[in-house]
């Protein structure tokens, strides 16, 4: 079986798995990190949103064979380690605004929020927030919007 090597949350790791298996299942079912969630498997719901070399991506739609040994994958579990302090400012904002309800989509929402703020150069408008496709079936969208604006100010 082929060996796959990449950097996950700052640590290089190698797993034995076919090239064709999507990265989400490598992370969840083989490595055992369960922060990125399954909500559709076809890059629609965005519950698995993580970062690849600092940019938002959805591992449900990336073959593990398409990731190289120097690629840095960051899941929600590794987000805080990318900054000084105990939590990332976006996580802090999430806590302050008590955003989560069931919590299932929230790892993906936070990872998407961080990338969206970076993409927009540090501050976000309502139109920018409308671009975020992550589903929250609990419907806590307004708190998500408030938290992203607050988190952006501190990023």
């Amino acid at each position: 079986m082929p060996q796959q090597t990449f950097i996950l949350n700052g640590r290089s790791l190698t797993v034995d798995v076919d090239d064709d298996v999507r990265l989400l299942w490598v992370i969840r079912d083989i490595v055992g990190l369960t922060g990125p969630k399954y909500g559709c498997g076809i890059n629609v719901c965005k519950a698995c949103t993580s970062h690849l070399n600092g940019k938002a991506f959805n591992p449900c739609s990336v073959r593990v064979g398409d990731i190289s040994a120097t690629d840095e994958v960051t899941t929600i579990e590794g987000l805080a380690d990318t900054v000084d302090g105990e939590l990332h400012p976006m996580q802090e904002a999430w806590l302050e605004h008590d955003v989560a309800q069931c919590g299932y989509c929230q790892p993906g929402q936070i990872m998407a929020a961080v990338a969206k703020v970076r993409q927009k150069g540090g501050s976000v408008t309502d139109a920018d927030l409308d671009e975020i496709r992550n589903i929250c079936r609990c419907g806590t969208y307004n708190r998500i919007r408030e938290a992203i604006k607050a988190g952006a100010e501190r990023m």
Binding site: R28, P36, I42, A47, F57, L95, C102, Y104, R145
Partner: protein, 774 residues
């Protein structure tokens, strides 16, 4: 607050004195206390006519009363590390009950919230009906019993402290888990836990804190699981570390509720990478593999001979025609010949109640026992069903209740847990079952299609009659609520016991809170072939939207402002108060550009009331805005929710439920439905089933809590859905000048997505994720 001797002659119902409640200190090595889960619910009067049933005795009362006949204890333990632990016999699905329960215990026990650990109890069959999470009933039914248990614990801690500190109970002060004596000496709950333990079980009577001295209850608190959530540590059923429970999925039939005859290429599927087991079960062909991705690949490779489902060939049109044929006639009450009538007919299409966490369950079925882990709002019924399906005794089936990634009524049923158990038994191995997203709208539970006919008459400034005939594909109540009703039938208000499950629940939940003369609201059900359930707020979103649209029509016919009209005819002071509040903070009546409008609606249920005001933009430049693979259409630009939910435990949690309820109501009005064609639902993705997304959300949202000054909580989880749906519909009617009669309003638009294949039933996993980074 402190234990006192009980005087038998002062006791009323349930052996409880006017002020005090009975609880127990349970024999154990640390302090364990118990209270009866039936405590503290007031008796309700029998129902006279003409008030509607739900006005005096509603679903909350049924759920609370159904619990009475069984002996049921809940226990709180004070551990030797100074924490209090409690296993809540309900399910957390995002509604915040673990947080509010921790707050209630913290309040009565004088312990910081951080030191209260609330877990979810596994299925406890001895609780009979008292382990169903639904009807927004958790806080209504558990508030007093949990307080009593916590008060008993504090009393025992104080008694032990009095001995340790050489003082008297009455002189001691407890705060933040520490007891202090007047001389300044102190002792912690951690030090007292063992000393307060009892070797025998004894009964004590306690008084509860008066609401005026609450320091935790009523103050906004953040969720107790928030930090686990934002760091990715919170575990859902699929995330649990159960050894050898490998990923498992099911290849499902191309038509609703079809079934497999045979898997024609079993050998080829078994030889696929990662695949460990294949089993044919009644719902489809199950595959177990090293990863879920390999399960998806295996499902796509399966060549299955399918038996068609019972609705083969049916469509939206044929089911709607069937509903119309079943509609009960309007009774035409006697009104003067000069009275004017307003008549309207509404249609509500099928909707999916699926949460973001799809149906998922871990099952480990052995020859002599089974263990299941799943999100289950009715775990005792699931336990019975699993026992039946596996041939095991119910006592040999352990059902662990796991916090759910949303429910919205979907997890009232144990479909996932039962299916996982059957597959585990067939394979002889533990399984980690997950439904594919495409399975959820296509084969999962749905809110039934319904029609609602309304006829109202008015004359000389009065509404003389208001009739409603609601006709619906059958709603499945076989998750325990139905059984609860049967068992309680003899004790229910006159007439109720004679109705079927659905008609009874309709009668228990529906109330038109206006003085509209002769009011009748009746339900007719038809067609039992669909997988249905009580989607958040059951009948009310559809029924009340039909009502409120007609209320606006009546106001217009009588040349009255919609708010003034409602205030004139509303019977209930609490509903009037929330309506006034929403109108005030939402600036009702402000001037709006053409093509935009305000809308307002009210709803009374769950021992409370809500009013929602929205502003909607139906101008072409808004309606026609483009977002890829999405429903845009009219945009609600502002929403205001005013809520009276009785005594509020956690205002921040209540606001969250209002926000979520609004998002649901918005989707029901404008965007979210399933299309039935040729015996199957077309939707298979979140980009097909248009639940509210960021581009639909009102940029402005405000929630105001109206305090009625009551000492008992009402329900929150479902309270905002009906009024939100109705307010958006009313605003749309006012902005466009057209009465919408089919919901969601975009249902008949051309299908705006490429329909995913039915064979195979799941789409291929994409490979182009790296082209979509940002």
């Amino acid at each position: 607050m402190t234990p006192s001797s009980s005087t038998p002659d002062s006791r009323g119902r349930s052996g409880v004195s006017r002020r005090g409640f009975l609880g127990y200190v349970v024999g154990a090595s640390t302090l364990v206390v118990a209270a009866d889960l039936r405590l503290g619910t007031p008796a309700y009067a029998a129902v006279p006519s003409p008030p509607q049933i739900a006005e005096l005795y509603d679903l909350e009362d049924l759920q609370t009363d159904a619990a009475r006949p069984t002996a049921q204890m809940i226990t709180i333990a004070v551990e030797k590390d100074g924490t209090a632990t409690f296993a809540l016999p309900r399910m957390e699905v995002g509604q915040g009950i673990t947080t509010s329960t921790a707050m209630i215990i913290a309040e009565e026990l004088d312990l910081p919230i951080e030191k209260v650990r609330v877990s979810l109890a596994p299925a406890r069959p001895e609780l009979v009906f008292n382990q169903l999470t639904g009807g927004s009933n958790t806080t209504v039914s558990t508030f007093t019993p949990i307080r009593v248990a916590a008060a008993v614990a504090k009393g025992a801690l104080l008694e032990a402290a009095a001995i340790e500190l050489g003082s008297a109970v009455a002189l001691l002060e407890s705060k933040a888990g520490v007891v202090r004596a007047p001389d300044g000496s102190s002792i912690t709950y951690a030090e007292l836990a063992g000393k307060a333990a009892s070797s025998t079980t004894r009964q004590v009577e306690v008084d509860l804190k008066p609401a005026s001295s609450f320091e935790v209850v009523g103050k906004p608190a953040n969720r107790v699981d928030a930090r686990d959530i934002v760091t990715g540590r919170k575990k859902f059923a699929m995330d649990l570390d159960v050894p050898d429970a490998l990923p498992t999925m099911v290849c499902r039939p191309p038509t609703l509720n079809g079934s497999p005859r045979a898997l024609r290429n079993r050998g080829a599927v078994e030889a696929m990478p990662g695949v460990s087991d294949v089993a044919v079960v009644d719902t489809g062909v199950a595959v177990r593999a090293r990863t879920f991705g390999q399960c998806i690949d295996a499902i796509r490779a399966m060549d299955v001979d399918w038996k068609p489902g019972p609705i083969e060939g049916e469509s939206d049109e044929s089911i709607l025609a069937e509903l119309r044929r079943a509609e009960a006639p309007l009774a035409v009450p006697k009104v003067p010949a000069l009275a004017k009538a307003i008549e309207a007919k509404f249609t509500f299409m099928f909707r999916s109640s699926a949460a973001l966490e799809p149906y998922a369950a871990i099952a480990d079925v052995r020859a002599d026992r089974a263990e299941v882990w799943a999100g289950l709002k009715s775990p005792i019924v699931a336990q019975e069903d699993i026992a039946k399906a596996t041939g095991l005794a119910q006592s040999k089936v352990k059902v662990n209740v796991i916090t759910g990634g949303g429910s919205f009524g979907h997890k009232l049923f144990g479909d996932h847990a039962i299916e996982a158990a059957k597959i585990s038994q067939a394979m002889g191995k533990p399984v980690r079952l997950m439904w594919h997203r495409a399975d959820e709208p296509r084969q999962g539970r749905v809110h039934p299609m319904a029609t609602s006919r309304v006829r109202a008459t008015h004359l000389a400034g009065q509404v003389l009659s208001f009739e409603q005939r609601h006709t619906s594909v059958e709603t499945d109540f076989s998750h325990g609520l139905g059984e609860m009703l049967t068992s309680s039938a003899a004790e229910l208000p006159a007439g109720l016991g004679n109705l079927g499950f659905a008609e009874s629940i309709f009668a228990l939940t529906q109330e038109l809170p206006y003085d509209f003369g002769a009011v009748t609201q009746l339900l007719t059900e038809t067609d039992t072939r669909f997988n249905t359930g009580s989607m958040r707020n059951i009948y009310s979103p559809d029924v009340r939207t039909a009502n409120e649209l007609v209320v606006d029509q009546l106001a217009r016919a009588m040349r009255k402002d919609p708010v003034a009209f409602r205030l004139q005819f509303l019977k209930d002071v609490r509903v009037r108060a929330v309506l006034k509040k929403a109108a005030e903070i939402g600036h009702w009546g402000r001037s709006m550009p053409a093509g935009t409008a305000q809308g307002i609606a009210i709803h009374k249920e769950y021992k409370g009331a809500t009013a929602v005001l929205v502003e909607i933009d139906c101008r072409p430049e808004t309606v026609n805005r483009k977002v890829r693979d999405a429903a845009t259409g009219p945009r609600v630009t502002k929403a205001v929710v005013a809520v009276d939910a009785g005594l509020v435990v956690n205002p921040r949690g209540l606001e969250a439920q209002m926000m979520g309820g609004f998002s649901d109501g918005l989707a029901l009005a404008l965007t979210s439905s399933l299309h039935l064609r040729d015996g199957h639902f077309l939707e298979a993705s979140w980009d097909n089933y248009f639940y509210t997304r960021q581009w639909n959300v009102p940029p402005e949202f405000e929630c105001a809590i109206v305090n009625p000054g009551l000492d008992q909580p009402g329900g929150a989880g479902e309270a905002a859905v009906a009024s939100s749906f109705a307010a958006v519909a009313c605003a749309y009617a006012r902005a466009t000048g057209k009465l919408p009669t089919k919901f969601p309003i975009n249902h008949d638009d051309p299908i705006r997505f490429e329909i995913k294949s039915f064979v195979p039933p799941v789409p291929a996993s994409p490979t182009d994720g790296l082209d979509h980074t940002y």
